[in-house]
Assembly symmetry: C2
């Protein structure tokens, strides 16, 4: 993969966190970084130009959703996801596994893959490791994911052991099916809360020599301390010269805690999803724009934020738009929340370079509130 490699630039002396550059076919990005999610080839409500202005580096799209609508062949005919959605920066797609496994009882897991029914038209569908690669090849993101089983939490040791073994076999099948040199295929470390299974999975994947590694099976209902432990259990077996991506994480404190544990990338729909309901991340903790007290408040959401929304609009106006269910309100609140996590990523990178990420964490918690460990954000 001459177009894709991770360059470790600095390890924080205080925390062990990594600052690096990820080189991709669509440009270089700095890590650790939060990746906004554009499920259906659009980060909900945010124009591509605005994403760039906000400092977004990599955006993520969901294979499962695009497979069902509009279909990967249409995206391929458009010239790939970049052209289809008019975004020329680096992109990442997931394998579709997480969504398919979320379907619960309506899907059947077999060795060959997963059978399930489309939520759109009820049609029978089949997702295999090869199919996941085929779809992602057609979508054309810079980074793509192996199909894994995202097992439920909690799962028994026995269940998880069999699941991990299948995830390893599926990773191998996916790797064999993947032939596009412009796309870096990541292996996904599963294993739940069992350190030996995380070790087994990580080692097997590292032996296959992927250009990057993901950590999956997190953010599925486990307590935060369990998640942090899962990250530690996995990361220790991963090579230093490859990027590490913690999937589905977007709680501000988790960005910091994961970086401390050696993570380089994370993504989550959290900032846009909660924004559409008026819930905001700020440097002084969580804020709900619906609150009556903002009715005549002509200050920005977060005076420490440099986003388009905070530069131009007041809490009173945003509350008005939100209460009126205006489209532009959803866009403005989404911009703020996404920028908050991008800005936090920038602050994390700076703290790493200054060897003070643990101090930064304490300063962050003093302002944001220490109860953030107990809630969604």
């Amino acid at each position: 993969m001459k177009d894709f490699w991770y360059e470790l630039k600095h390890v924080c002396k205080q925390s062990g966190a990594r600052y690096g550059i990820l080189h991709t076919p669509h440009g270089d990005v700095e890590t650790p970084m939060f990746m906004p999610v554009g499920t259906l080839a659009t980060v909900k409500g945010i124009a591509p130009e605005m994403l760039k202005e906000m400092g977004s580096q990599v955006i993520l799209s969901n294979t499962y959703h695009l497979w069902l609508r509009p279909g990967e062949d249409i995206v391929a005919k458009a010239g790939g996801l970049h052209k289809f959605m008019n975004y020329d920066g680096p992109m990442l797609t997931d394998s579709g596994g997480f969504q398919v496994f979320s379907l619960g009882k309506t899907r059947k897991i077999k060795e060959e893959g997963v059978y399930f029914k489309s939520i759109i038209d009820g049609k029978s569908l089949f997702l295999s490791p090869e199919k996941a690669i085929d779809i992602q090849n057609k979508l054309g993101a810079d980074m793509i994911m192996s199909l894994d089983e995202c097992a439920p939490y909690p799962a028994t040791y026995d269940y998880m052991k069999h699941s991990v073994e299948r995830t390893i076999r599926w990773a191998k099948r996916g790797k064999e099916a993947h032939h596009n040199e412009k796309q870096a295929l990541f292996g996904i470390v599963q294993g739940g809360e069992y350190p030996d299974l995380r070790e087994k999975c990580a080692k097997a994947l590292v032996e296959m020599d992927f250009p990057g590694y993901s950590i999956g099976g997190t953010s599925v209902g486990e307590p935060k301390d369990v998640m942090y432990k899962m990250v530690e259990d996995a990361v220790q077996w991963l090579p230093e010269d490859k990027p590490r991506y913690l999937m589905g994480v977007g709680n501000p404190i988790d960005l910091i805690e994961a970086a401390i544990r050696g993570i380089d990338m994370y993504d989550c729909v959290l900032p846009t999803r909660v924004a559409r309901h008026g819930a905001l991340m700020t440097h002084h903790g969580r804020m709900n724009i619906n609150n009556e007290k903002f009715k005549e408040d002509f200050t920005p959401i977060d005076p420490e934020c440099d986003c388009y929304t905070c530069r131009n609009y007041t809490r009173a106006y945003l509350r008005h738009l939100h209460k009126s269910d205006e489209l532009f309100g959803k866009t403005l609140l989404s911009i703020h929340n996404v920028r908050f996590l991008l800005q936090l990523s920038e602050d994390i990178r700076k703290a790493i370079q200054e060897d003070r990420l643990l101090d930064f964490k304490e300063e962050f918690l003093d302002k944001y509130g220490r109860d953030v460990y107990k809630r969604a954000f």
Copy 2:
């Protein structure tokens, strides 16, 4: 009104249409012009910067809606509508009359004003000519409207006669209540389909010497030929040195027909409302983005359009966003339709200056389709 005046620059030798400059406290604008509607202090889904980029000159907000939510006092405390919504170009507000009269049986018209119940919380409210001015003074738009009775169509001669007389008395009361030199108060010519009542109303208002005149009671269900006649019946009595605003008109052909009859300004929610449902205006007629045939169509909505959407996105992508009910899809389709009417306004102005608006109309109809007279757009 030293900050507000209309400068007639050219009369089309072929059609009699006017090209002019309207000078306002927030800048000069060229007429004839279409004004996008931002009902609740936001043109649905479109950022103020984009409105400017699109060539939007004046935007309109609705007094009735802003009175109910967030309330004119909050807008006033924000420093007025311009600051509240972060738009520093010229603005216009209506009187609230159209919306209140649309409430039907739930409102009671008296000489002193209109009694009705809030659609938001059921609270009893009262809109008088003075109250309409007071609210609009607080909102602070460059152009504001007198409270008029927007009578139903059809209405008996007798009903319309009494209604027009009240509209004239209300215009006088509004004028007496208005003391802000930075806001140009327009009188509204009513009179339905009765030429003598249009004449009576126009003459009475002209005698009061308003800085601009609106034509109301159109777009309330009457056939197009009736509407065009109403415009003719009203315009002939209006002074040449004042702007003429035809309220609630946004069908492309109506922009042309109204300009031919001496109209300088028009507004309508049509372009944004239909866009949110996937219906688009193009140089080759109406288009519905939901159509199956656009599934793999990687051309822009309208190759002759220069809008942000047409420059950057394909029919296939827009169809995908629309079918997925994505926010960004609504924004992109709204941008296109609004730009279509702004671009049409530009073309109309050019044709007037070249003394060929009637030729332009025929060319437009050849491409857009002559059945446009029979449908909403």
